[in-house]
Symmetry: C2
Subunit: 361 residues, 2 copies
């Protein structure tokens, strides 16, 4: 993997990644001229025992782009600089211009609850130069590169200090609020382990202390032996509708053996994980012959420098549809109680996805 | 408060509540003839350490009602029985025909994770006979009666046994997935304390053990002293945008002093809580001169029969809009990490609601 680190005129970082050498004379465009002046802050929620981040930006845009302007496409007209340059690269990563977490430039306000600087990083990951592509349509080697990029970002962000957890994710589709349809994801680097990963770590540590094995490792073993809900089973990676799915078309993608984070994947594991991921994405899009919206989140070990044998890198997909025409709204019981109610069985939804035939390459 | 307990032909319970005596000859209609044959089951989610409930119902309707049919309106044509009878009543409560939790009629399946019967109750609460009304438009005495009804349901459901937590809530508006616009809410009675109330209890118990005071009691004291985010301050009840709001127009409504559940409210507290609640609802609807969608959840003490001096009955409103035209989508960081990101300050949103002038009665 080749990479090139650049800095935009407004001070934001841009890194280009490629399977081929990158022209070192490429420079970083930016739709924004003034330096980013971000000072998000955290407030403590005393009832839930968690932090909430606040970032109120004026929409300080330096020009008004045409409505069809795609800031994630490569810059072709210098009068309308986008976020990424032309050139031979596969994946680009840059600092979000409107981050929820940032290196703070001011003290947090004094309030009636504890506050803190919302230190951290929010990055945008452009999956490909092709605005018409999608993650699932990319070649396996390109998806494998992206898995390496997520690993490189995790390591680089953790190395800057003060980062407890790195979460790569993709929101896909207007149904989950996405307005830019160019294939891209995001990475959040948090100053604390957020509530959901903290809960996952707690349960994994308990299971590991009791059994000496990973909780996801044991579940994957059982899912593979039973087979009913398996979507992909390779020699190193697996994809399945989990027996305890909380969303009708929920799918998990993981290496079969526990791997604590992206950078611990062997080349063989990474290649098979790319096959598992692409399989799921192609089946999703083929199911109803249209782009399938989802939230994809990648869970890995906290970045506290310690060994995490209990952690097991994996992706969870939460699609918003429960049938072709009906959305699953998170309402009373899910949002207010955190208690998920499903009106479909994971076994039925797994069967639907199993029956979709796809060609991997 | 007067009440009348009835049973529908399909075996479901219906209770009518009124501020006046109720005609004891009223009978309970039902759009369904066959007994409810519900066997939802729970599956253990080993990564998150929580239960998920599964209820797969065939849509076994006994007749095809006209599209404009409102099952929550009073029955006027015996050929099309609705869920509630005609007669002089204010609030009606009946068992949901498609419950996520129910008295199980079959053993849970044996699976690769622990399973259990999804024991519990799901009730529908019809707030009024008037399909054109809304909770906020009801007279204060009617809202006060509803607070009593929630208390009565909590006590009655807990008394049936096996119930750890009772959560009354309302999903309002198509934006949160509501298809029936007749004013109504729901009550879930859970066999376990669900994750969010469990977390709230844990934090409240910690604070109470450390200080001998309620965590919400202390926050309300500080909110009242500062005043910036207060929407209603009465002698017994308060409404405010909390300093740690996770939704732009989030509002909490509570008695000022800690009261552990609905049935512990004094008449004066209940009357003022109704004023606080009505104030918030009228301001919401007046803000953009249109019905304001929200999820309203009422948190109270677990129903384990123990004293809960750490618990503080209150409602939390989560409205889905962040501006008049833009929804706040829960996406990557909120759903996958449980870490909420706000692009508006609670102080600004409180000011907007403070400036809405309303007439209480």
């Amino acid at each position: 993997m080749f990479s090139l680190d650049l800095t935009k005129q407004d001070g934001r970082h841009l890194t280009l990644y490629s399977r081929r050498a990158i022209d070192p004379t490429i420079t970083a465009p930016s739709p924004f001229a003034e330096p980013l002046n971000a000072s998000p802050h955290l407030r403590w929620h005393p009832l839930r025992g968690e932090w909430v981040t606040y970032a109120a930006y004026r929409q300080g845009r330096t020009f008004l782009p045409p409505p069809e302007f795609n800031p994630l496409a490569v810059t072709t007209d210098p009068a309308y600089p986008t976020e990424v340059p032309a050139g031979d690269w596969d994946v680009a990563v840059f600092d979000n211009r409107f981050p929820s977490l940032a290196v703070p430039s001011a003290e947090p306000p004094v309030l009636i609850v504890p506050t803190a600087p919302a230190s951290g990083y929010c990055e945008v990951v452009v999956f490909t130069q092709d605005p018409q592509a999608s993650l699932g349509k990319l070649p396996l080697a390109h998806i494998g590169l992206l898995l390496q990029v997520w690993g490189d970002r995790t390591a680089k962000l953790a190395r800057r200090g003060g980062i407890a957890y790195v979460l790569p994710f993709e929101n896909r589709g207007a149904e989950v609020g996405v307005t830019l349809h160019h294939p891209h994801g995001q990475i959040y680097a948090y100053p604390v382990v957020p509530p959901v990963p903290a809960r996952i770590q707690q349960e994994a540590q308990r299971h590991y202390a009791e059994t000496g094995r990973g909780v996801l490792q044991d579940l994957i073993g059982k899912e593979l032996r039973e087979g009913t809900r398996i979507i992909y089973a390779g020699s190193h990676a697996v994809a399945f509708v989990p027996v305890c799915a909380r969303y009708p078309y929920e799918v998990w993608v993981a290496p079969i053996e526990p791997v604590e984070s992206f950078n611990h994947l062997s080349a063989e594991q990474r290649a098979d994980l790319a096959r598992a991921l692409k399989t799921v994405l192609l089946k999703y899009d083929d199911l109803w012959q249209r782009p399938f919206p989802y939230l994809m989140a990648w869970y890995q070990a906290p970045t506290d420098g310690k060994a995490h044998p209990e952690s097991h890198l994996h992706a969870e997909f939460y699609p918003p549809y429960r049938t072709r025409d009906r959305l699953k709204y998170l309402a009373g019981t899910e949002i207010a109680a955190g208690f998920f109610a499903m009106d479909a069985l994971p076994e039925e939804k797994a069967r639907e996805l199993q029956q979709v035939e796809i060609m991997l390459e």
